[in-house]
């Protein structure tokens, strides 16, 4: 049970939810958030946007019934959540690009923040694509060496792929697929963070199974971060 410090609209259908408390978690991991006591029954898997000393933040899109209910929760309300779950982004070295599309930008904030603190990381460039309007303004500059964004186009076109050692990406399927293909052309490893409907969130129910090059994998436990090639082939 956590207390909502704030829950505000930061884009057309994008909300920033902040919960009070000391939370653990790595970039790319997620929490199962129960949006209401009774209905809907299932919690919603939402990735970590930022962890501060005394709070955790989630950037989410009100896209279905559950997330719409969550968007109407107010400061002072309490909410059930459990986690962190999933593997998160792997340890890396060198020059890193973070590429996000739409609400896929959400996990890249804490990711950039943590990577910048590591001496073995020389560059963390952030590329975000938005449909209509940039979400959270210049805030992204704080967690990147350089920040680039695109409105309404294909953000993958902005990325000078061969400049990087590793690329982390999160966003629409088509974008992550394209990024994976470009990585392969340039010999650059691409890690994708994928989304799935989940019931248990801990690897028991097999609702989130995805078919990969190496057989069935559980998105909640063996993911949500995978090597792009494992998901999109190549």
């Amino acid at each position: 049970m956590a207390l909502i410090r704030r829950n505000e609209r930061v884009g057309e259908d994008i909300f920033l939810l902040e919960l009070e408390g000391k939370f653990q978690g790595r970039p790319g991991q997620f929490f199962m958030i129960k949006v209401n006591d009774h209905y809907p029954l299932l919690p919603r898997p939402i990735s970590i946007h930022e962890i501060t000393e005394d709070s955790i933040k989630f950037l989410f899109k009100a896209s279905g019934e559950g997330t719409n209910i969550l968007s109407r929760k107010c400061q002072g309300d309490t909410i059930h959540l459990r986690g962190p779950y999933g593997n998160g982004f792997p340890p890396v070295k060198g020059k890193i690009a973070l590429v996000g599309g739409g609400i896929g930008a959400a996990p890249l904030y804490e990711t950039g923040k943590r990577l910048l603190q590591q001496p073995e990381i020389t560059t963390v460039d952030l590329f975000l694509g938005f449909t209509n309007k940039r979400v959270l303004g210049d805030k992204w500059e704080k967690v990147s060496s350089s920040f680039f964004y695109d409105i309404g186009g294909a953000v993958t076109n902005l990325v000078p792929v061969s400049n990087y050692d590793v690329i982390f990406t999160c966003g629409p399927d088509i974008m992550m697929k394209k990024m994976t293909a470009k990585g392969k052309e340039n010999g650059v490893s691409v890690y994708v963070s994928i989304e799935s409907r989940m019931a248990c969130g801990i690897g028991a129910c097999l609702a989130c199974t995805c078919h990969t090059k190496n057989g069935n994998k559980k998105v909640c436990k063996e993911g949500p971060v995978f090597l792009g090639e494992e998901i999109y082939g190549g």
């Binding site: 029954l41 559950g66 459990r82 019931a199 129910c205 097999l206 609702a207 078919h211």
Partner: protein
Amino acid sequence: MADNLKVKFNHMEFKNPIVAASGTFGFGEEYNQIYEVETLGGICSKGLTLNPKEGNSGIRLWETPMGILNSIGMENPGVKMFIKNEFPKMKKWNTRLIVNVGGATEEDYLTIVEELNDIDLDMIELNISCPNVKEGCMAFGIDEKSASNIVKQIKKVCHHPLVVKLTPNAENIVKVATSCEAAGADGISLINTVKAMAIDIEKRKTVFDNVYAGLSGPAIKPIALRMVHEVSKSVTIPVIGMGGIMNWKDALEFIMAGAHLVQIGTANFVNPEAGKDIVLGIQRYMEKEGIKSLDEIRGII
């Protein structure tokens, strides 16, 4: 744990009547990181088939008002891998182990049951009720003749107590239950999920690749309770009740309707500690009401 929670299922004692339902609890390992799963009276394994099964393609989960539709399609490692990798881990827990078995053909069922004869499990739950696979399974549980036939064949080779899990989609669930008893079943469990569907109006397609899926959760509880009541009154073998049990009050309803044991399924997703909470809830209720054994309230309705 209090002695008054103990339940006899034929000659087998369960420390309490709460069992994790097949397909919602994996093989117990994940939930054991959340609470000690041996708190439960028993654990029912994910449904096993003879060979490993990949499960269904496309969307596997869809939420509906107070219910969930699933179309997992019996994804499992197959009986051999289960015996090798999963069962030894389950065996460490001090709780009853029930193994759920599914199949496409009679031969499949017989082979799996024979494979399981040599391991030290407590009970087999014969799944003739899964609506999510194209061949077999639920087809065996729709009418009393096919149900009775498969139970008869399996009883000839099975060394373990055999509980038959019934489908609410049966033509007449009471007739299926009584025919299973006549064929030698040691118990009946019910209900499996209700065959259901959802349509995506924008895509003008069914949500599930497999078209139909299985509905579970509180939405089906009143139906499940009625069926458990009817079946309990019609058979002399013990009954395991399930279908939308979310808390200790729901569990007691099923016991008053006649169930010896109850299984907790969808509730595990809503609250991963549901099983443990329900055990505690029943214990407190019994203390408060001065009930010394669940026999005092079982089937009183």
